[in-house]
């Protein structure tokens, strides 16, 4: 049933899939940007807030991992959707903040959630584009007949990868865990995923893997030209390069997927874009040439939550269940560099308000 064409992009349309339900879990601890006023000056902070649109973010507790947050979102989803745990055949954990170097966190979650030993588990190590990969994996497992229901858990504790002296990042990233149930259904989903590894060092934690093991040198604090401090063990983002990358590629990827689906662009009801920051989302919207109403944002209170941002947006905005979501585009972009979009219907999807909203 899987129909993969290789044109200029990796594209596929997978039949008989339903994105059944979406939940999310926000950590309780709140970090307000104005708390940095004393350190950096109120004017500087307010300039940054005006550009990013991020007023506050949620931060995981010191002992709370991405899998802890995803576990809570999953537990809630299983209970509220009245799912028999034995029906879940696949578990996908999308995160860059796993519990351990090994084993895969998805296996730990299989046991914690009480899923059958016949569950196939996989970790997908992507950030802001990761939700697209998670749904792609789930759809392929269902389409192949390997699974009837797959749980996609996407979340990150990006705050734990950031040096507190790096305001370019602490003012942007927040933590969140999400759960999405994918099952057999009546609709088809289009996928388009792209990669450009030449930009691998534009969004990176250089040290701590096996290329640059941790050492005294990787713990040295380095100050950049914008006065942000970080070590080689902390997250680094070249915001300019990420913006250039995103505004060059994302709208083209979406437009080509809409073409592949043979949709009319005007019929698309919702563009659920990765919530990077207001500046970037608004600029991509301009490149897409679509109205603001079709490109909602909820960046203000949660910031950029990496792989969780799209499911968090959906559960945050659509839990009332009144919107017509017959034709929906989701698009993620970031680390890798990687970018990808999904075309689907969400009319048969149950959204639940984020826990701790």
């Amino acid at each position: 049933m899987v129909d993969i064409h290789n044109y200029e992009f990796m594209k596929a349309i997978v039949q008989n899939i339903r994105i059944a339900a979406v939940t999310s879990y926000l950590p309780k601890r709140k970090f307000e940007m104005v708390s940095l006023n004393e350190l950096y000056g109120a004017k500087e902070i307010s300039n940054i807030i005006n550009t990013t649109g991020i007023v506050s973010v949620r931060i995981a507790d010191d002992d709370q991992t991405s899998s802890d947050m995803c576990f809570k979102a999953a537990q809630y989803l299983i209970q509220i959707e009245n799912i028999d745990q034995q029906e879940i055949g696949g578990l996908v954990f999308v995160s860059q903040t796993p519990d351990y170097i090994l084993p895969a966190t998805s296996i730990i979650l299989q046991n914690r959630l009480g899923f059958s030993k016949e569950t196939v588990c996989i970790d997908i190590h992507y950030g802001c584009s990761g939700y697209i990969y998670g749904l792609f994996q789930a759809a392929l497992w269902i389409s192949s007949g390997a699974c009837e229901k797959v749980l996609v858990l996407a979340g990150d504790t990006t705050s734990k990868m950031i040096n507190p002296k790096d305001k370019s990042l602490i003012m942007v990233f927040g933590d969140c865990g999400t759960a999405t149930l994918v099952s057999k259904g009546n609709s088809h989903i289009g996928f388009s995923i792209c990669s450009d590894g030449s930009g691998y060092d534009r969004l990176i934690i250089p040290a701590g893997g096996f290329r640059i093991p941790r050492s005294d040198k990787t713990k040295e604090l380095l100050i950049d030209e914008d006065n942000n401090g970080r070590t080689l063990e902390d997250l680094y983002m070249d915001g300019m390069s990420i913006l250039s990358f995103a505004i060059s590629n994302v709208h083209k990827n979406i437009d080509s997927l809409i073409g592949q689906m043979e949709w009319n662009k005007e019929d698309v009801k919702l563009y659920a874009l990765h919530q990077a920051n207001n500046f970037m989302v608004n600029y991509i919207r301009k490149k897409l040439k679509v109205n603001e109403e079709k490109v909602p944002t909820n960046i203000k209170n949660y910031g950029n939550t990496g792989p969780a941002s799209i499911p968090l947006l959906l559960s945050d905005m659509f839990s009332s269940g009144k919107a017509d979501l017959d034709k929906v585009i989701m698009s993620g972009f970031g680390v890798g560099l990687s970018w990808g979009s999904i075309a689907c219907s969400l009319n048969n999807t149950n959204f639940y308000e984020p826990i701790n909203k």
């Binding site: 940054i48 550009t51 370019s168 914008d226 915001g239 300019m240 250039s244 600029y283």
Partner: protein, 77 residues
């Protein structure tokens, strides 16, 4: 592409620095106090908007003066 228009468009990205402070020879990264990574983002967006060219972070880091950046954009337009 006209350099005076480019300078004007470049200057528009700043809230506090008056347009008169910008010339072709202005070393924007060091001489303009208001220059920071946020300004850089709006310059990238402006160049795309007005000239249809997407410049990269490296293009800005490799430009000393407004004219240097103009030359990069001009060569790709």
């Amino acid at each position: 592409m006209d350099i005076n228009d480019f300078i004007k468009n470049f200057a528009c990205q700043f809230d506090e620095t008056p347009e008169s402070k910008f010339t072709a020879q202005t070393k924007f990264r060091t001489e303009i106090e208001e220059w920071d990574s946020l300004r850089a983002l709006s310059v990238i967006a402006m160049v795309d908007d007005v000239y249809g060219v997407i410049i990269k972070g490296g293009d800005i880091r490799n430009s000393n003066t407004v004219e240097d950046l103009f030359n990069i954009v001009n060569s790709r337009e």
